[in-house]
Amino acid sequence: MTLLKHRLFWPVAALVTLVVVNVIANPNFAKVTMRDGDLYGNPVTILRESAPLMLVALGMTLVIATRGIDLSVGAVMAVSGAVSLTIIADSPDPGSLGTVTVAIVVAVLVALVLGAWNGFLVSVLGIQPIIATLVLMLAGRGVALLITGGAITTVTSAPYKFLSNGYLILLPVAFFIWVAVVAIVALVERRTALGMLTESVGINPEASRLAGVRSRGIIWAAYMVSGLLAGVAGIINASNTMAADSNNAGYLIELYAILAVVLGGTSLMGGKFSIAGTVIGVLTVTTLDKTIQFFGVPPAQSPVFFAVVVVIVVLVQSPRVHAWGRAASARMRRTPSSGEPPTGPGAASAAKKHEEVAA
């Protein structure tokens, strides 16, 4: 019962169900093979390909916790990819570690500046987050095209390629990157007071202000982190294809990130957030993506398939659906012994009573 009440129970249940359905349909789904000392197979691919969405969704979680939203993450990814690949392409020695380091640092800094711009619009100028970040969502890809001169910049650079396609111990580098970033963000949020203050600002901004919380700085920081992580995501994404495609890099990723955050149990109303939940949410979205490929759904129909599964997952997690389920099962149990006097008019109101007391 306490397990059922845990806030991550339903997100985890959704992910596990999705994996089980896949494995039943085709046991190869979970098959992992060892080749040249590295692991390959569908689960490993999911862990690797989750990286960009994971980083973006992590930043999105913090922004959403402050009652905000960041629509610009896809565009920031495009800019970051364009910046890093242009630097590498223009350098005399694209394969050197030094060039790649410079390219990554500059790209991440540019992304940080873009995040700071969003944060400035929202926290200092008080512009509504959806509008403030829409500006960069629309303008960002233009900036990326400007950087690449309108072309798709492609490079050959072994160290850069290593980020997304390389392996460390048994597993892909991209996986280690997102695990490290998740760990760092979780540590910063929960071992300092940043997490609690962020939740406080998201739940009740005015009470927080009167309690002396520097809410401007906290909101600003959330957008900067979101920009920074989108920048890293953009680098991993560009490293995957070794091309800076300003029109398609991170296309619609903001929406998948929002979906992953919500699947992870963080409310769009802001306030309480769960980093572990977001990790589960991202793995769910990526697994679903793989499921579509694995089932061989034709590309024309895959959005429909995706939508149907998302609707089911969201319904499974809905508290109201849970209440209906409890009421229905209570009725089922009661019907056989219809002679017994009713203890109350309907299990629905009894369930409601329980909820209010628990709330």
Partner: protein, 514 residues
């Protein structure tokens, strides 16, 4: 004002029992509501008042007992069932659609129809008729939000009349109304009563209960204590019935006002000509060490506005503030906090509690904000603060991990008080700290304030309950119409004198200048 006890009750609730997991919220309670009476339901927080109301309005299912309305036994499965039986409720937070017009709200769901759908002219005509029957003359096409809470409540009552309510439940309708608005509401309540409507009234204000009620039912800990005619129940007896013990605590404080304050040194806070256009005319205020300064005045007199300017919650555009003799810039709450000033807002829900965070997190929020996010309070430091104040203020339930939103108003207020005290301020500004909370919690908070002041803390105290202000302050600043009209020594003035001062002082001079 006698009520014929032989009148057949319109609502008869017998043996009502409602159990929540682990708690018996109501234990075999009888309650009778007769047509043409105003019946007050009294009890401390947690006595079962709201549970009883929710049983009557179909929000909760009853576990045992019977509810009869108009001689017919009812089994309310939902609020709609209760409404269909003629029971309407008006809550403290008006639950109408603020963005619709007054007329649309009054007639919502009962719009007169013509051949081409709703006839809006008829809607507004009908609405105006219903409003007029309560003595209200409003533009029915104006948005509801453009009216005061008091008017919105009267609109909600009009709406109840459109639904042909025979029973009207008013749950804390007066807590945000000023005296004039309360009078207007009471006039409406009396006219409905004379038309035979049965009215159930709930309020924390004893004065108002005695002013409007014909009959009082007292609950305590989920059990019925008794049903009384108002004239048979003196105030002391009512309070005793509600809390079940003699209320010595409040009288024990009576010495507080006499405590001598040394006003020769530098004041802890000194405001000179602090004001803001359209909010508060420039006013002076000094607060000395260990002094409790009360700010008295009616709702809307500028008392809240004044302390918000002192705290930097709103920016003053005139005057200057000194803290401990040093000039201080108060442009944000943080500026005040950095100088050792804490402020507890009157609006507990909107500006005080962070509902989904735990009691412990709410308590340490102020201290943590002051330290900044980098320097997190260690678990041991947090536990020390939480344990100290849970104990000192008697917060119930004594579990700091539950979300603060689940606590009763009085206990939320104690947690907020703990938040400010944990910051160890030298000046604490309390705006209506005891509003809407039960007598026991009120006594706890007053006692704590008096004790801290005796230990050297300076306090600015605002309360609508003038008796309370007189009891625990050593000096009173009186405001009226957004202007400070003078200061009083609480030992030299009694309640009547204070009311008279608020109402009349400086009036002749004021009208002369107009």
């Amino acid at each position: 004002m006698t009520v014929d006890t032989d009148v057949r009750p319109l609502v008869s609730m017998r043996g009502i029992t409602i159990a929540f997991p682990g708690v018996l919220a109501l234990d075999g309670v009888d309650f009778f509501l007769r047509p043409g009476e105003v019946h007050s339901l009294m009890g401390e927080n947690g006595a079962g008042k709201s549970t009883l109301i929710k049983a009557l309005t179909g929000v909760y299912a009853i576990d045992a007992g019977t509810i009869e309305v108009a001689d017919e036994e009812r089994d309310f499965a939902s609020t709609a069932d209760a409404q269909a039986a003629g029971i309407s409720t008006v809550y403290q937070e008006v639950n109408l659609c603020a963005n619709l017009s007054v007329g649309e709200n009054v007639m919502l769901g009962h719009e007169p129809r013509g051949f081409a759908g709703i006839s809006w002219n008829a809607v507004h005509r009908e609405a105006a008729r219903h409003l007029a029957s309560l003595g209200l003359d409003l533009d029915t096409r104006s948005p509801l939000a453009s009216h005061s809470i008091a008017i919105q409540q009267l609109v909600a009552i009009s709406r109840a009349m459109v639904l042909d309510a025979k029973v009207l439940i008013l749950d804390e309708p007066t807590s945000s109304l000023d005296r004039g608005e309360v009078e207007q509401l009471f006039a409406v309540i009396r006219s409905l009563r004379d038309r035979g409507v049965a009215i159930l009234f709930v309020s924390h204000f004893l004065e108002q209960v005695y002013e409007i009620s014909d009959r009082i039912t007292v609950l305590r800990n989920g059990a019925l204590i008794g049903e009384y005619l108002v004239e048979d129940l003196p105030r002391e007896a009512l309070v005793t019935a509600m809390i079940g013990r003699e209320l010595d605590e409040l009288s024990a404080l009576s010495g507080a006002a006499e405590r001598a304050i040394d006003r020769t040194g530098t004041p802890v806070l000194s405001a000179e000509g602090v004001g803001r256009k359209g909010v508060l005319e420039p006013a002076d205020l000094d607060v000395f060490e260990g002094e409790v300064v009360g700010i008295a005045g009616l709702l809307g007199s500028g008392r809240t506005e004044m302390v918000r300017l002192l705290y930097g919650a709103d920016k003053a555009d005139a005057g200057q503030i000194s803290v401990g003799g040093e000039r201080a810039k108060m442009h944000a709450p943080r500026h005040a906090i950095d100088r050792g000033i804490a402020f507890s807002s009157e609006n507990r829900r909107a500006e005080g509690v962070v509902a989904e965070l735990s009691v412990a997190e709410n308590m340490i929020l102020g201290v943590q904000a002051q330290r900044g996010w980098m320097r997190r309070l260690s678990k041991a430091e947090q536990d020390a603060i939480v344990a100290e104040y849970m104990e000192a203020l008697g917060v119930r339930p004594a579990d700091p991990t539950v979300p603060i939103g689940t606590l009763s108003g009085g206990n939320q207020q104690k947690v907020l008080l703990a938040r400010w005290l944990a910051m160890q301020p030298r000046l604490l500004i309390l705006d209506e700290p005891t509003r809407g909370i039960d007598v026991g919690a009120k006594a706890d908070i007053q006692r704590k304030v008096a004790q801290l002041a005796a230990e050297g803390l300076s306090v600015v105290f605002i309360s609508s309950e003038l008796e309370e202000v007189l009891r625990i302050t050593q000096r009173l600043a009186v405001l009226r119409d957004r202007r400070k009209i003078g200061e009083l020594d609480p030992t030299e003035v009694d309640l009547d004198g204070l009311v008279d001062y608020i109402a009349n002082a400086g009036h002749t001079e004021r009208s002369a200048t107009r």
